[in-house]
Assembly symmetry: C2
Homo-oligomer: 423 residues x 2
């Protein structure tokens, strides 16, 4: 199996100023074509550190993909290290990248600055793939295998995440021309509403009965729930996928409605798919989630087909004035109540004219109120068959509570719509 | 200077299923107390890999902090590796962690499962800090320095991000008892609206004149703009901070209103601070940003003091029906226009009764319309002194465009409010 290491370069990563998202993005792509990522490494902007670490990674892997260290204000160090590693004596100007830099700056209404032009300089012993998305070039360094030593390829990518990920199709093309790719088969089962440990106990005997070559991974996520991932390495596509499907069918029998998708999916995608299938529209009334539900729903391309809009009623008077929640309902039951959640959902459905609506009213934190602890939320879902409300309690900080509330609201919504459609 | 390495354990990281946020969170904390992070490393759930890599990191650092590998479904491998590394012959039950596990599960309405109880088992040669936030214990392994060999400490933390970060105050306490901490002084200057390369050219002569011991870092971010960070290692707090302040004062002269804060800050915090200072309230009308502005504003604890709420008018009829944007304005100028942005901001200010309001109407993607390319947005800000509209163009994918639109809207808002307050 072809092995790869991913290396990110930059002091800003080591001092924690930015979180490295390139490594996970790249490994996901490598993994999907059957390349095993053995390690990920982050190192600073230091010539000797870069040389020593990349040399070590190249000695232990077939492929090393590094990102970063190529920004306009600090690419000298990285390029000096890559020159040393590749035995390049000088930097040469890459014409194609230079033209791209001029065009990008021009389209932003800027003149081409010296500092940007310098980015088109590359070590002489490298192959360049022009980076259409940004100013830093993509470089390939092939170690010569003629002396019988270990032969590995170093790919140097820009650090800007969408440029690094944007370069991967070209990198994959190059890899597939030079390395044998083994097959790998994955399927995901998305669940929501059951903690990892409980899920694990519930499917214990199923898990124990799994054929030895089918690997299971538990992948919990705040917003999308626990993903169960089944993988087989090698074998024939059709046969292996059928074997995985057979196991998934058993799992559906055990977990039922806790499963919301049999693809690598999100709740907002699932809700969107159900709405499109039913030809129905959606609106939202958010209090404690402050716009998070709407943001998730509209993160799906094409959401305008079914999503009409939302009201974030952060202040009580907005609940009354815009959503028409009766003052009496609030004073009698409190803002965080089943009655207010229902009135909010019904209110936004009425004023937008949507088929379905979802609402939240709760306490994300930092503090609770007289009646409810932090982490309490009432969720309302209103549709053609009436209004449903659900209470949930989470014990997280503000940011995580908001995410959990929004995810739980979308989960309630997909259960209600799913039931309506199947009825 | 005390040196540390951060190591995350878990196949789910190597296959790209989750993005490691622990490393950046931990390094930010270590850095703030003057500990230099030399490397970050991610490795898989493999006993021999864990042993070899941790041994290597311990040989080259004073401190190694590792997270992960302790979930209920897979902690056997990591604990076996830690036992081998520490020379522990057996696992022992930690009573305090066992009690915490029982309480956590009980508060979730669950019985204590065998699989969770097993989490309270630890290698005999470790010190345990009970983890109040979760089921996996925090473990400290001290290598004996009596044989004259390199002496280092290994801290093993849970992988769940809020538990790992939540454990850091205890870890910092322990580190400060065992290692000398050097001083480090940082200040941040937050800018928005100028690209890194342009900023760098604009402040080039200032940067060249910086004293050699003041380090400058450029830290660009989608949502918060480019942060400039000035640092000095060592020296006396008051003197060094004054020297940094002097340089920042010069920078303010050059960059003016491009600077929005002299702390490590966000646009939504800055807007909140300005509104509180002025005693004014805010509302929002979002189209293409779909709730992102509202989500950012309400991510600030205490936002309910000034934020009334928002309308996400994804469908045209919601713009007309709820916000009162005249049908004629839309048909004459198009949805993505200065006139519609203004009418949306004025509409939401009217129906909520807020002092200020902000609006967006644009094309986040995947496709543009007849008149505007993807990445076009009109921003409206309405306040006591009238309505301002601004057009911006970005060339990103949908997700990044939504973020840039929301950030640009908050930036326009802070400039308008800031001007009003200073008038």
């Amino acid at each position: 199996m072809t092995q790869a290491s991913i290396c990110t370069i930059g002091d800003e990563i080591l001092i924690g100023q930015i979180t490295d998202t390139n490594s996970s993005g790249i490994s996901r792509i490598l993994e999907s074509i059957g390349i095993k990522v053995t390690r990920m490494l982050s190192i600073g902007d230091d010539r000797n550190e870069i040389i020593a670490n990349l040399r070590n990674e190249l000695a232990n892997n077939d492929i090393v993909i590094c990102t970063g260290g190529l920004g306009p204000t600090k690419d000298d160090i990285t390029k000096a290290a890559l020159s040393k590693l590749s035995g390049s004596e000088r930097l040469v100007m890459n014409g194609k990248q230079s033209d791209i830099i001029t065009n990008i700056l021009h389209s932003r209404g800027l003149d081409s600055l010296e500092i940007n032009k310098k980015q088109a300089l590359v070590p002489e012993k490298c192959e360049v793939i022009p980076n259409k998305l940004g100013t830093a070039p993509i470089m390939i360094f092939r170690s010569s295998c003629q002396d019988g030593s270990h032969c590995a390829t170093l790919y140097s990518l820009p650090g800007v995440p969408h440029e690094a990920i944007g370069a991967m199709p070209d990198i994959i093309n190059d890899i597939s021309e030079h390395y044998p790719l083994s097959d790998i088969y994955h399927k995901s089962v998305m669940t929501f509403g059951m903690a990892e440990s409980l899920l694990s106990e519930k499917i214990e005997s199923w898990e124990n009965d799994l054929p030895e070559d089918i690997h299971l991974a538990y992948l919990p996520n705040q917003l999308t729930g626990v993903r169960l991932r089944l993988s087989i390495y090698g074998g024939k596509k059709e046969t292996e996928e059928q074997r995985i499907d057979k196991e998934i069918a058993k799992l559906q029998g055990i977990l039922g409605n806790t499963i919301y998708s049999l693809e690598d999916d999100t709740l907002e995608n699932t809700v969107g798919r159900l709405l499109k299938k039913a030809g129905k529209t959606l609106s939202a009334a958010e209090s404690c989630t402050g716009g998070k539900i709407s943001e998730l729903v509209t993160s799906v391309p094409g959401a305008s087909e079914y999503y009409l809009g939302s009201v974030t009623s952060y202040a009580i008077k907005i609940k009354e004035r815009i959503l028409g929640v009766p003052e009496k309902t609030i004073s009698e039951h409190g803002v965080v109540s089943s009655e207010v959640a229902a009135a909010m959902a019904e209110g936004v459905r009425r004023i937008t004219g949507s088929d379905y609506s979802v609402s939240t009213t709760g306490l994300a934190g930092p503090s609770g109120d007289e009646w409810n602890p932090v982490g309490t939320v009432w969720i309302g879902v209103c549709g053609p068959n009436g209004t449903t409300t659900v209470k949930k309690n989470y014990k997280n900080d503000r940011k995580r509570n908001i995410e959990r509330f929004a995810a739980a609201a979308l989960n309630t919504l997909r259960i209600v719509i799913g039931t309506d459609i199947n009825d």
